[in-house]
């Protein structure tokens, strides 16, 4: 968060790993050990059983990003590390935000914001709603900022995941 406030460049590192026991532990340990200040990390299976994709986003200077990539490449179970160009990458993150909406006016406002961000209200109770929103991490940030006016009761973000766009002819 510190690096982000200091307006360092944004980076997306995508890497595929063999689905071996302890691989997530080794990656998490590496980040702590080398004191890398990451913004998010996400993990999930790929089309290939036995292979997972992890995505790390961070704000940082060039030498830091290079070290992250080199250290990741050293891990035995890491198959391939790519640095994605944010301008040529589809980056998505999902957030669930539980907000306080005690009255019809608040609910109407919420509905308006949710539409503007192409989110969805996925749960409603007499005084609260859960909203799902998907987009770039920056869009998710902006949406969460807006939700603060209602009072955020709980928040869950997935962390960013990403794929490079196919090259254009």
């Amino acid at each position: 968060m510190e690096a982000r406030r200091m307006k360092k460049p944004f980076h997306v590192i995508s890497f595929i790993v063999e689905n071996k026991p302890g691989v997530l532990f080794r990656v998490a340990w590496l980040i702590r050990r080398r004191n890398f200040n990451i913004e998010s990390i996400s993990v999930g299976p790929t089309e290939n059983p036995g292979i997972s994709r992890m995505t790390i986003t961070l704000y940082g200077d060039e030498p830091v990003v290079e070290q992250v990539i080199k250290q990741l490449r050293k891990l035995v179970d890491v198959v391939k590390v790519s640095r994605l160009d944010p301008d040529n990458t589809v980056i998505r993150e999902m957030a669930l935000v539980k907000v306080h909406v005690p009255d019809p006016a608040a609910r109407a406002d919420l509905d308006y914001y949710v539409r503007a961000f192409r989110g969805r209200i996925v749960d409603l109770s007499p005084d609260a709603a859960i909203v799902e929103v998907t987009g770039t991490p920056q869009k998710v940030d902006a949406f969460i900022e807006l939700m603060r006016s209602f009072g955020i009761k709980e928040l869950a973000r997935t962390g960013a995941t990403a794929l490079p766009r196919s090259p254009k002819e």
Binding site: E18, P21, G22, F25, R26, W29, R33, P63, E66, Q67, K70, Q71, R73, K74, V76, D77, V78, V79, K80
Partner: protein, 568 residues
């Protein structure tokens, strides 16, 4: 073939060519020890698991092969940790095998259960927990491959006791699956060309050889290139042995306690060619002062070392041997810039610094003792060290001529390393004389291994630089803490190392003069029993030269009054 997991492990180790395992048995590794009973593999029973790892490490460094250590679950496994960390920091290939509680008990905080994989993740390249007896041959093969591949490192195999007992259909010839994560070993041709040009055009070139040169067995190539281009060579502590220290192009070792000549000359160089070094702060001094105005060429097999501490101008990710060969080929038919002025300067600096030494040659001082060891010890004799002043004196005063004959804990700086590493080295090279140059504090940490050396008949020579203090720490208290000796006095004579050694059945001597030392050392060399030589030295003996921490190598001092003035 139908085998128990334990038998499969021993057969697989035999297939890897393992001749010796250092270890201590316990409940959760008993099936493996039972299988070991029928094996040709020699087991060496140490007295503390830490020493099993150090001995495996010493074995690996002396031989260039993987060293193997073994312990039971829980405390047996955790006792290995310091030894594994020591090997990891110095890129030494060991395979550590630990017993583990039965699978159904894992995670239940069973008796003698420790999450040894979790504990050792930061200090191993990889670890395996065997879940199925049929996996044993593949796991062993992979472990040995990973330990040696690229930059060597420890690998851990955690073996639950029920899997050791379980019988399975085992294929001892199982192949390891190919890894997608391929290692680059050949240097990039473009970078080789750039490095060659930089070296040919250099006016004041210096080569800096690290431990990577020894690991990749590239000493011949290093020497060939240095002689071809007439480039002075300096080394790091881990690079000791990579280049013969009696060679005319050798200028001494760099670093905090490096030679004044090397520290001076490397700061004057316009091209520094560094091979197989990770630019430890102890070698470079303050990072932002090192090679600031020089063109830096950096060869390392580990890409992550390039630019980690010091950013090179010409990075070469490659095996040291292959890179040196490629650069040799690239420069051999080309003409180089005349460097005779530089070589004269190198010669002058070396000579002026040698003149500084005015102490009597017959005093029983660390320097004279170590020079005497060198004089008496054959060139292929192996020296290990403890950590502290003893280690720095050994590094300063012991000329080393061959790779793998100087074994020290450089990165982690593990006190107590000397004796168990000496035992490992002696097992690897039974025909070489092995000497542990140790300190009293260091030696006391693993002194129980004298028992191993006697019972297992592994004769080594231990020379203790006995000052009755934790000498290096005392030295820093003298220099930087106004002589306030907090917790550094050990009290000399406790224990009496001569009586202690004799209690173990070892030979012992306490020489009162350099002549007596020589006699004792000669006797030790011809004895087939371990000898402890207790040398009482002046507790105020300094370690000089000294580039104080956080300073540039250019600020290396050779006179203590300079430190006092600097204030630390």
């Amino acid at each position: 073939m139908r085998l128990s997991g334990a038998k499969a492990l021993i057969k697989s180790l035999e297939n890897e060519g393992v001749k010796v395992i250092f270890g201590i048995p316990g409940g959760a590794i008993l099936p493996v020890y039972d299988a070991l009973h029928d094996s040709s593999i020699r087991h060496i029973l140490v007295r503390h698991e830490q020493c099993a790892a150090h001995a495996a490490d010493g074995y690996a460094r002396a031989s260039g092969r993987v060293g193997v250590c073994m312990a039971t679950s829980g405390p047996g496994a955790t006792n290995l940790v310091t030894g594994i960390a020591t090997a990891y920091m110095d890129s030494s290939p060991i395979v550590a095998i630990t017993g583990q509680v039965a699978r159904h008990m894992i995670g239940r905080d069973a008796f003698q259960e420790a999450d040894i994989i979790g504990i050792t993740t930061p200090i191993t390249k990889y670890s395996f927990q065997i879940q199925d007896a049929e996996d044993v041959p593949r796991v062993v093969k992979e472990a040995f491959y990973l330990a040696m591949e690229g930059r060597p490192a420890p690998v851990l195999i955690d073996f639950p006791v029920d899997v050791q007992r379980e019988e399975a259909e085992v294929d001892l010839e199982a192949e390891i699956p190919p890894r997608a994560n391929k290692l680059v070993k050949e240097p990039h041709p473009l970078q080789v060309k750039r490095a060659a040009e930089a070296l040919l055009n250099a006016e004041r070139p210096v080569m800096l050889a690290g431990g990577g040169v020894i690991i990749s067995n590239a000493s011949e190539e290093l020497r060939a290139l240095a002689e071809l281009l007439m480039i002075p060579v300096t080394i790091t502590l881990m690079g000791k042995g990579s280049f013969p220290e009696n060679h005319p192009l050798y200028i001494g070792r760099v670093g905090m306690h490096g030679s004044a000549a090397a520290n001076k000359l490397i700061m004057e160089a316009d091209v520094i060619f560094a091979i197989g070094t990770r630019f430890s702060d102890r070698s470079t001094g303050r990072f932002d002062t090192f090679a600031r105005d020089a063109t830096l060429i950096h060869v390392d097999i580990d890409a992550a070392e390039i630019g980690k501490n010091i950013k090179p101008d010409i990075p070469i990710v490659a095996d040291a041997k292959q890179a040196l060969k490629a650069i040799h080929d690239a420069v051999k038919d080309l003409s180089r810039k005349d460097t005779s002025t530089w070589l004269q300067r190198v010669k002058d600096v070396k000579e002026s610094i040698e003149k500084l030494d005015q102490r009597p040659a017959d005093e029983l001082s660390p320097k004279n003792v170590i020079r005497e060891i060198r004089r008496l010890l054959p060139a292929d004799g192996i020296v290990t060290t403890g950590v502290g002043r003893n280690q720095m004196w050994a590094a300063l005063y012991l000329e080393v001529y061959h790779p793998r004959t100087f074994i020290t804990s450089g990165g982690l700086g593990t006190m107590g390393f000397g004796l168990p590493a000496a035992l490992g080295a002696k097992v690897a090279k039974p025909n070489s004389i092995v000497v542990d140059i140790d300190g009293d504090g260091s030696f006391l940490m693993t002194e129980g291994e004298l028992a191993t050396s006697i019972v297992e008949e592994i004769p080594v020579i231990v020379v203790i630089m006995n000052d009755g203090w934790l000498g290096m720490v005392k030295y820093w208290q003298d220099l930087f803490y106004g002589g306030r000796y907090c917790a550094t006095c050990l009290r000399r004579g406790v224990p009496d190392f001569v009586k202690l050694a004799e209690a173990y059945g070892a030979n012992a001597a306490r020489p009162q003069s350099l002549q007596e030392f020589s006699r004792a050392f000669k006797e030790a060399m011809s004895s087939d029993r371990t000898t402890v030589i207790d040398v009482w030295i002046n507790p105020d003996e300094p370690v000089l030269p000294f580039a104080p921490p956080g300073r540039s190598l250019a600020e290396t001092i050779t006179d203590l009054r300079e430190v006092m003035r600097g204030g630390g």
